[in-house]
Amino acid sequence: MKPRLSPQVIPLAVSAAVLVILYVVGCLAFPNFGSPRVLINLFGDNAFLGVAAVGATFVILAGGIDLSVGAVVAFTGIFIASLVGQGYPPPVAIGLALVVGAGFGAFMGTLIHVFALPPFLVTLGGMFLARGLGFVVHPQSLSIDAPFYSDVIAQTLSIPVSPRLSIPFTAVCLVLVVALATVAARWTTFGRNVYALGSSESSARLMGVDIGRTKILVYTLAGFLSALGGVVATFYMQSGNPASFVGLELDAIAATVIGGTLLRGGVGFIPGTLVGVLILGVIQTLITFQGNLNTWWTRIAVGGLLFVFILLQQLLVRRKPGTR
């Protein structure tokens, strides 16, 4: 008997294939596309999106949705920039920002669980709240001038590969977060509870899963990872801006879906989200290399891919009833 791919793995396999094909096409079409620098930048430039998308994936796996991602990332950036500007040491500012992000997620999770409110509306409120509060902290873009940022993060913590090339710390963050999240989703009680909750809340309750704890924890984790995405973004941009990252939540959700996670919850893989983020990154890089195409083609391409993957999931789910 031939070993067959389970329908849950097929979307991930397809998206991995799409990533490889896009990358190979890029390498064949443009001479410098295959250089290690492009590959490293692919990770480094999309690190903040990847970190935030991992949080969004957990929420989606648990059957919820988080619309506050972009606003929390922007808030974190301006919060850190403002604290550092007031003379706080950067590590303290980063720690505070992570606590605030996790607390924000816990607040939304509590509202969703305790009052049985739709996650869509609560996180929509959270999005407006975080976006507005960012402007309360500081109304304009603010650059971060601290030796910690320019020396420690940009130079000491980056891994040199050759004299002219080094792996930025942001890329390291992304890989670390994805690795830890994969372990957490697959081999911990919390991870199994998240999958159970997303598959069927009532069954999960009957199995003895602590629904409330899991739900609140998932949104706390998502808030924390959004804030961490914001921290990574400050490493990358060396500044904070309350008006930035509008619509990042859509990219995070798109990356999650393209990475093979079902939006109705319960099915999906964390590494798939990394693949999804890299696909978005490769499309962007391809369009930059091409030069003649405008940036709006990125959005159309992402929308098209989203359509293909949703259709694929729909077909797989329908062909095998009961597997969800």
């Binding site: 949705i65 509202l111 305790v114 009052f115 049985a116 409110l117 739709p118 869509f120 509306l121 609560v122 929509l124 409120g125 959270g126 999005m127 407006f128 709240l129 976006r131 507005g132 509060l133 402007f135 309360v136 109304p139 309350p242 008006a243 509008v246 859509l250 959700i253 798109a254 879906v257 939006l263 109705r264 405008n294 709006w296 083609w297 990125t298 959005r299 159309i300 992402v302 929308g303 098209g304 989203l306 359509f307 949703i310 259709l311 729909q314 329908r318």
Partner: protein, 347 residues
């Protein structure tokens, strides 16, 4: 004219509250009344009305005019939400419709009625796309409409060539800036659309079909209702409403801005519907409630501006209103409050 108009306005409002005291729209109407009362007492100039060149000007007229876009969107969104769906793409559809109409009167030099028809036709097509995804391919509505939400602005930019397209056509800009009988044209446009939608849903069985499908799709199908066709039509209608709103938005500023036209308005529209008393879970809906919800949101925004709150910080009070309304509608909180009330009585 404030001296005699204000008492008349408040008498009419009070009468409205009295007649709706047992309806679902009582609470949003009361919230709107309280917000207006706050402005009457504490915001100088908010209630000023004046007639210039036979046209009525004042903050309340501005609220009606500015709120027109969300009110139009909320009409379509109400029906979609009533079928237990949601349409995230209406903001992007607005941008597309505005882009098509603007390009039609400028680059293609077509007459305005043709441009308006073209904008509406493309918006209707976008609605058909959403409808096919939801009703034929049975993709869950949030996901299905997310596709157009992501790609739609790209399409709009493709149409405008990435530029902001300015136009001077008087007929097209009349849609957003014109006055008829001393009132903004948008007021009549919204009233007409509201009347037509209310008539279609309440004087025919269509409204009942929509509520039935939203309440229990399987049961509706077994009763012989064309459930998928009802859903499909709801998305097409939402697309057309979004197209109309997009034309008004473009006409307002006499230009099509693919990046910013209708940005986040899908969220305002959903909020207006929910504030108005239609639950996101589908089933029963109230069009009048959605209109009041849209007016409440616009009045809140206008109040913040009138009180010199920066446009950037305005989302904060808006968020607090969303959360407060969600909490008030939460069955869990209501049960807890009811239990609290009973406990007091017993003690």
């Amino acid at each position: 004219m404030n001296a005699w108009f204000d008492p008349l306005f408040w008498a009419a409002f009070a009468a409205g509250l009295f007649f709706t005291r047992r309806e679902r729209i009582f609470w949003p109407l009361l919230a709107l009344g309280l917000l207006l009362l706050f402005n009457q007492l504490f915001t100088p100039g908010f209630f000023d009305l004046e007639v210039r060149n036979g046209q009525l000007y004042g903050t309340r007229v501005d609220i009606l005019n500015q709120g027109a876009k969300v009110m139009l969107l909320a009409l379509g969104m109400t029906l979609v939400i009533a079928t237990a769906g949601v349409d995230l793409s209406v903001g992007a559809i607005m941008a597309i419709a505005g882009a098509v109409a603007a390009q039609a009167v400028t680059a293609a030099a077509l007459p305005a009625p043709v441009a308006i028809a073209a904008g509406l036709a493309v918006a209707g097509l976008a609605g058909v796309w959403n409808g096919v995804l939801v009703a034929v391919l049975r993709i869950q509505p949030i996901v299905a409409t997310l596709i157009l939400m992501v790609a739609g602005r790209g399409v709009a930019q493709l149409i405008t060539g990435g530029q902001i397209v300015n136009f001077t056509d008087p007929t097209l800009s009349f849609l957003g800036n014109g006055y008829v009988f001393g009132l903004p044209f948008t007021v009549f446009l919204v009233a007409g659309m509201f009347g037509a939608t209310a008539w279609l849903t309440r004087r025919t069985a269509l409204g009942l079909f929509i509520e039935s499908v939203g309440d229990n799709e399987t049961a509706s199908t077994f009763t012989g209702l064309p459930a998928q066709r009802v859903k499909f039509l709801a998305y097409v209608f939402a697309g057309l409403c979004a197209g109309l709103a997009g034309l008004v938005a473009a006409a307002n500023i006499r230009s099509a801005d693919a990046n910013n036209a209708g940005l986040y308005l899908e969220l305002d529209a959903i909020l207006a519907v929910v504030v108005g008393g239609t639950a996101l879970t589908g089933g029963r809906f109230t069009l009048a409630g959605s209109m009041i919800g849209a007016l409440l949101i616009q009045t809140l925004t206008t109040t913040l501006y009138a009180r010199n709150v920066s446009a950037d910080i305005a989302p904060v009070p808006k968020a607090l209103v969303i959360l407060a309304v969600c909490l008030l509608q939460s069955p869990v909180l209501r049960a807890k409050l009811a239990a609290l009330g009973k406990g007091r009585k017993a003690a």
